[in-house]
Symmetry: C2
């Protein structure tokens, strides 16, 4: 998972904060979804991301999905900086007595994702462990133009995503709370859309950790807030809407994270909005308009008939307040909702 809340940011700073930076590294710590180095007249882009907690919590059990996501997750970060992936290195931890079918299905997920993203498995390292875990490093490049960072957005700019949201959390909800609701989860890293986005956008992040956590990161890094003019119900994917209708979850909860759908979330200057939307249309896709960047670090949105204004980190931090306990997390979400209802 890529994005950070302010609590997660504290941990990242503690673990990573004191090392010297590469003199040609473009991005500061947390300033981009991937690491960007200027060299030989191009940008070399690298990203390490892992599938660990998703396997441990059994959010992912299907080996094909594990393989697919081990490639899609870091390549989504590559898309978020506007780069083109070339290859991956895999660090695998597998059980010594793992069965061959499981391994073959995971390899099929990895292989299909590489094919989809025009990338290759360059190498890797296999170790044996009681539990499965995969860490993937992607190597990518930007030959011309500049990389997209998470920083650079200004109040008044327009906020978009590449598609409707909430599928990641809908999938997690179905896995953890109601397995009778089958939710298809097969995200595709937005490399194609990224080519157009990078010529218009001022900043970009992926929604690997869900919408609200991504907004919290953008808010913190840019010192801004967001006014989501589009009612949240209109931002929900079909899968997320179905959970909303079936189990009555308020719309905002399905965007609260921390399991996202790997769309790109980005800002476009107001005066370029028309040109951008036209170019997307000519390419056969339609970005989803969310609202505007604001000057104060708050988020305004409408969930159901409830208008809500809260601190940018309020929603994202609920997951950390639950210490990752998924039942406690659902309780915290419900308490938060009740508190908003009674204050309205």
């Amino acid at each position: 998972m890529t994005t950070i809340t302010n609590k997660e940011a504290d941990i990242i700073r503690k673990v990573a904060g004191n090392f010297a930076r590469h003199p040609s590294q473009v991005n500061q710590l947390m300033e981009a979804d991937a690491e960007i180095i200027q060299r030989n007249g191009e940008y070399l882009v690298l990203k390490t991301d892992g599938i660990h907690e998703e396997i441990k919590t059994k959010l992912y059990e299907d080996p094909y999905l594990i393989g697919w996501m081990a490639v899609t997750a870091p390549i989504s970060d590559i898309a978020a900086v506007g780069a083109v992936p070339e290859g991956i290195l895999l660090s695998l931890q597998l059980p010594l007595d793992g069965n061959d079918d499981w391994l073959k299905n995971m390899q099929a997920g990895i292989g299909d994702a590489c094919l989809r993203y025009n990338s290759y498995v360059l190498g890797g390292d296999t170790n044996f462990s009681d539990s499965v875990s995969i860490s993937t490093t992607v190597v990518a490049h930007i030959r011309s133009g500049s990389p997209l960072l998470r920083t650079g957005m200004k109040p008044g700019e327009c906020l978009y995503t590449t598609s409707l949201l909430g599928t990641g959390n809908a999938f997690a909800y179905s896995r953890f709370f109601n397995q009778a609701l089958e939710v298809r989860f097969h995200p595709v890293a937005r490399l194609t859309e990224s080519k157009t986005i990078r010529t218009y956008a001022t900043a970009c992040i992926d929604t690997s950790d869900g919408l609200f956590p991504a907004l919290a990161v953008l808010s913190e890094l840019n010192g801004v807030g967001f006014h989501l003019e589009t009612p949240l119900i209109k931002l929900l994917s079909e899968e997320a809407r179905s959970i909303h209708h079936h189990d009555g979850l308020p719309e905002w909860m399905l965007l609260a994270g921390p399991h996202g759908e790997y769309e790109l979330l980005f800002t476009v200057p107001y005066e370029k909005q028309n040109d951008f939307e036209k170019e997307c249309e000519s390419e056969g896709w339609k970005p989803v308009y969310l609202g505007k960047v604001t000057a104060t670090p708050q988020i305004d949105f409408v969930s159901g008939s409830l208008p809500i204004r809260c601190d940018s980190h309020r929603v994202a931090n609920l997951f950390y307040e639950s210490n990752g306990d998924i039942l406690a997390y659902l309780q915290l979400l419900k308490q938060q909702h009740e508190s908003w209802v009674s204050n309205n």
Copy 2:
């Protein structure tokens, strides 16, 4: 750990064998210590390696050593192909309740190693797990000349290492069997020596998994064997000799692996031997001469007063025959020794 025995090679082929290769990748599967891609008139070199089993078995407990080795292990592979490292990405799994001193010491090991190798932490990914594990990806380059592969050696060529051997296994022996024997273990990736080696050598591998496992890999990949003309006692480092003297371990056992000392093991054509040794001397270091490459896949060596000839994989496979059980492994080593003594 980098090198492979034929049993480990089977596992690697099963896990990695079926993916399409990058069209510009220079090395075949297992043909080099790192992954090499030709691009933009240079070679981009990448390597992922991890510190997992070393932590799980408590071979490494000192957090500084864990940090140092997380960088040194993959950079030793970069040295083995003759490349220059630029930066690393870290994939960390840490306990959620980890203590700050431990983290700081591990970071100091990482930081000092980066400083030593003129490299930078470019980024990474942190996850929380019951046990510590670190996977490191190094990005490196070769601006001119060709990369060194594990393949390319021919019978008659001279076999060298960058220094005396056995410290890795001496350290492991002291940790597992006799903690009263303090063995210093602080390997340094041989980047400096690699610059000269790559202008003379026909093939190279590092001894991250010990001498005999490295020889097994070279034997398999090149269809050759080795005649170690230098008696093994003269190849042992001070630390390994001290274990040999103190606990009576036969010399060959201290070179049997699978925990090596991260020296480079390489071959130089007979006719270039003098020039090579002179150039090393002018640089202030002395390569250790082991013997010659032979045409048959056997290894000849003298351990103590015992002349031994065995299949190239015999020694390396003993560790796999023990299923990684360290006590069973020591028993297998002793049985093998008795069988050689009684057959002599």
